[in-house]
Subunit: 249 residues, 2 copies
DNA sequence: TTGATGTTTTGGCGAAGAGTGAAGCATTGT
DNA sequence: ACAATGCTTCACTCTTCGCCAAAACATCAA
């Protein structure tokens, strides 16, 4: 009974409404200052500071000090994944925060899950990647087939550089709104960056929600089509793909 | 901020040490009476009753009334999966409950994760199933290839019956001790039943830990070998041959 | 250096909730 | 029918913990 990791300490940390709000806000992927966190969570600045210190102490957050600003962010993708899982269970069990609302509909369509895309559009992309044989099962999870590798290399994504990192290249992250997987891992993050850079989608102001243009959605799904039979359909946004080397750290 | 599921209510529910202990105990997969839960969590019977009522009310637990006994169990595999994810994050972040201890080593080797096997032995099985092309990626997650289906039919597992259920047949559940996936879903549960029935492993008294015999481990891994190579047996001694990760359709 | 802004620390209040013990219900056995 | 067992509910005490207000601290601009 007294074996295993201390799940209670972790869950109780997430269980506080103020801290949960902060974590949910940070799921958008961009770092927030203490003051912004306070505004997001609807608490005073001192309260936020205390909560952030606890989350930091537990290793869930990292902080980047820049002058008098302190930018807090999730410590890593695994933490985002656990929060996403919790959200999924909460949604399934029927614990909604309020009524669905219009804002939530936008989040279901597309949103950021820390550093990669989630929601309806992202699960659709995952499904096509699998159907076209680019994503395959692998002993340690999910992998990229040779064909998939070529396809993303053609888009200027440096797969070898991604593989050099300790973080797995591909991971299936279970979407909380859809109940199907979307692509996480360093490749998922690279695709999200690509989508933003090329204007396929734009992030909403202070929310995880992402607005995907119709052309952008087509271009996103076109990533799953093999390089050979790629048909330049109505999406005109992706004409400038050749001038993006897309080498990132 | 005010979107999405109420993660705080859920996490705060899990965050109480007593409730976390109860959930951890129920992760073993077998239903416990209120009194047993109290003993597991180290609290009084009324306290346990109150906690169980809350978990029940939130839909995390189900209860089976039999005479004067009330058997509590996890409400479903998805809840077990979320708890397993939390355990993984807690372990990674470094929140151990106490010292590692010998008990935990046994749990790392093999244990029950609600209704399927987890731990070193289970992740090894998963890896071989993938290498031998029995588990393949699928648009909605993970699927069983025709070859895999034949193999498990040969073991007497009624795949069609499993597919008829709403629960997915195969799921990749991230192991908290290993950081690799093991097989969950109804097929994972069926394999665990098989392993118990055939004596490949036996459950420890009041723990999630499972003791796997050397022969049992070989037999378990032999499930991943294509049907043509083997004859259906009960305790394969000869499972070790030169392996060809042959790709099957 | 002075002033302004962002952030953290302290002290004290207040409310939420966990625990205990005793009583109330249901079921089982003699 | 009576007693015993297992579980739940109730009433109460107590600790815990989060919040706010004010102040201390650090950094940047003038």
């Amino acid at each position: 009974m007294k074996n295993g990791p201390d799940i209670a300490a972790l869950a109780s940390l997430i269980g506080d409404p103020a801290r949960a709000n902060i974590l949910a806000a940070l799921m958008g992927g961009k770092a927030l200052t203490a003051g912004e966190c306070a505004a997001e969570a609807g608490i005073s600045a001192p309260a936020a500071s205390g909560h952030l210190a606890k989350l930091l102490d537990a290793g869930l957050l990292v902080v980047l000090v820049q002058g008098r600003h302190r930018y807090y962010n999730l410590a890593g993708p695994d933490i985002a994944e656990a929060v996403e899982t919790l959200m999924g269970l909460a949604a399934r069990v029927g614990l909604r925060r309020t009524r669905p609302g219009p804002r939530e509909a936008a989040m279901r369509k597309a949103r950021f899950c820390y550093d990669h895309l989630a929601g309806d559009a992202a699960t659709a992309l995952f499904a096509r990647l699998v159907d076209n044989g680019m994503l395959v099962a692998q002993a340690d999870g999910l992998g990229l087939s040779p064909g998939g590798r070529l396809r993303f290399l053609a888009e200027g994504i440096d797969i070898a550089a991604l593989e050099a990192k300790p973080r797995p290249l591909c991971r299936a992250c279970l979407d909380w709104s859809e109940r199907r997987p979307h692509l996480a891992g360093s490749l998922g993050a690279a695709i999200a960056r690509l989508a933003i850079e090329r204007g396929w989608c734009r992030r909403e102001a202070a929310s995880r929600a992402v607005h995907v243009s119709p052309d952008g959605e087509r271009a996103l799904l076109a990533l799953a089509e093999p390089a050979s039979d790629r048909t330049p359909d109505a999406g005109g946004q992706d004409a400038d793909q050749s001038k993006h080397p897309a080498r990132r750290a």
